[in-house]
Symmetry: C2
Subunit: 244 residues, 2 copies
């Protein structure tokens, strides 16, 4: 089964910044030998998941069938959709639901507003948990031991002048999120963008997901977001929570 | 590399109707031996793509990373997003962009309106090409030989009393779509739903995708859709076409 693991690592290696890969690129991105990477790329091409143009391999639409399995089979994306749509319509801001996945907040449901510029976040996108509002809410759902182990392995990467760069600062913001039931980021992950997230819990009270609204700094201050966004996010997150 | 092909076949076997699979189910759905299916399921579980509950395996959110590769790396989904959002806002109906993939119209971009009941079509969903408005538009993009070969292998499945069940009827609707530059379905795929689709072409004039709006029969007749939907769909599809 080593072939399966290698092939899936290569599928995951394609991103917005690496939209096409050569054999060498694929080997480098995954730590697989060039010979094995080449076999995987050719197999993925034969199966219809990649197309080849000279030395470059690029994903085909068929690749989407692989992700569709979770979207179709899991309950959460379908259950969340009406609530993110309702929150978007009330706020006229893009709204997402994300789950914790291996150190990241992974977006599983999303409703967008139309803007000339949008935040470029989409279904299936992953944001580092320590640096995102959704991530900090999701981290409140870990046990003490899991959270400590996450923070020990966490190496903050500066993406704006506001990025939190020390573990004690990050830990205190997660604790605040646990106490207040809301987390925000103020241009910490991306300049010009503010986000606010609240937990989605199941019937046992466990944090299962985070519902997040993001806006541009020109549109709302953090105080305005608390006044206007928070009641809407809480109401829609509670609606979704009652179904879990 | 046989392991990779088998593993991906199992990933694709999870759907809304088969949200969890046993070893026996997975073997049956994919034509793989139970022993090989079991090895694939266990490997996928070890890699974090499946969770196991007794004898049942279910997709985890990590599965979405596999589909995200196409969404992030391919140009079309990102380019299409502003145009489907604009069309949705003008029509207050859900709008999709689909590409042709192995006999199906596969949705790669979508903007939804909020409704109590929605059509349940989502990103990554596949509809049979012969029976859907998007599919009929996409089939106009095949060469004569490809279209004949598709129609030869096509076995219509009745899903409503209106489903077209003969190849000559289907062929004539595809020819009409080629001449008129628009295709529609009138409760042929799903009772109560009407759809209208127009082609998205690249600079060489080749059909690359279809842009589709769907509505409930109570909301608009086909004539009303021609009057109200068609100009909007054409304008947005042309906007997208200019970028390809």
């Amino acid at each position: 089964m080593a072939g399966l693991a290698k092939g899936l690592a290569i599928v995951e290696a394609f991103t917005a910044h690496r939209s096409q890969l050569t054999v060498t690129d694929a080997a480098k991105a995954t730590g697989i030998t060039p010979a094995a990477a080449r076999r995987c790329l050719l197999t993925l091409r034969e199966l219809g998941y990649l197309q080849q143009d000279g030395g470059y391999f690029r994903p085909t639409p068929r690749m989407m069938r692989l992700g569709a399995a979770y979207l179709e089979a899991a309950g959460l994306p379908s259950l969340a959709q009406p609530f993110v749509l309702a929150a978007r319509d009330e706020l006229t801001e893009s709204v997402s639901v994300a789950v914790y996945e291996d150190g990241s907040a992974l977006i599983v449901a999303r409703a967008e507003v139309q803007r000339i510029v949008n935040t470029g976040v989409r279904l299936g996108a992953q944001m580092p948990a320590y640096a995102s509002a959704s991530g900090r809410v999701l981290l409140t759902g870990l046990s003490e031991a899991e959270l400590e182990s996450y923070l020990e392995s966490c190496t903050p990467v500066r993406t704006t002048p506001n990025t939190l760069m020390t573990i004690p600062e990050i830990r205190s913001r997660i604790e605040l999120a646990r106490v207040e039931g809301v987390a925000f980021t103020n241009e910490e992950l991306e300049l010009g963008v503010r986000s606010m997230a609240v937990p989605v819990t199941d019937s046992s009270g466990a944090v299962r997901a985070a519902m997040t609204a993001s806006t541009f700094t020109a549109r709302a201050s953090i105080d305005e977001m608390r006044g206007k966004f928070l009641p809407v996010l809480r109401r829609q997150a509670e609606g979704l929570s009652r179904m879990l």
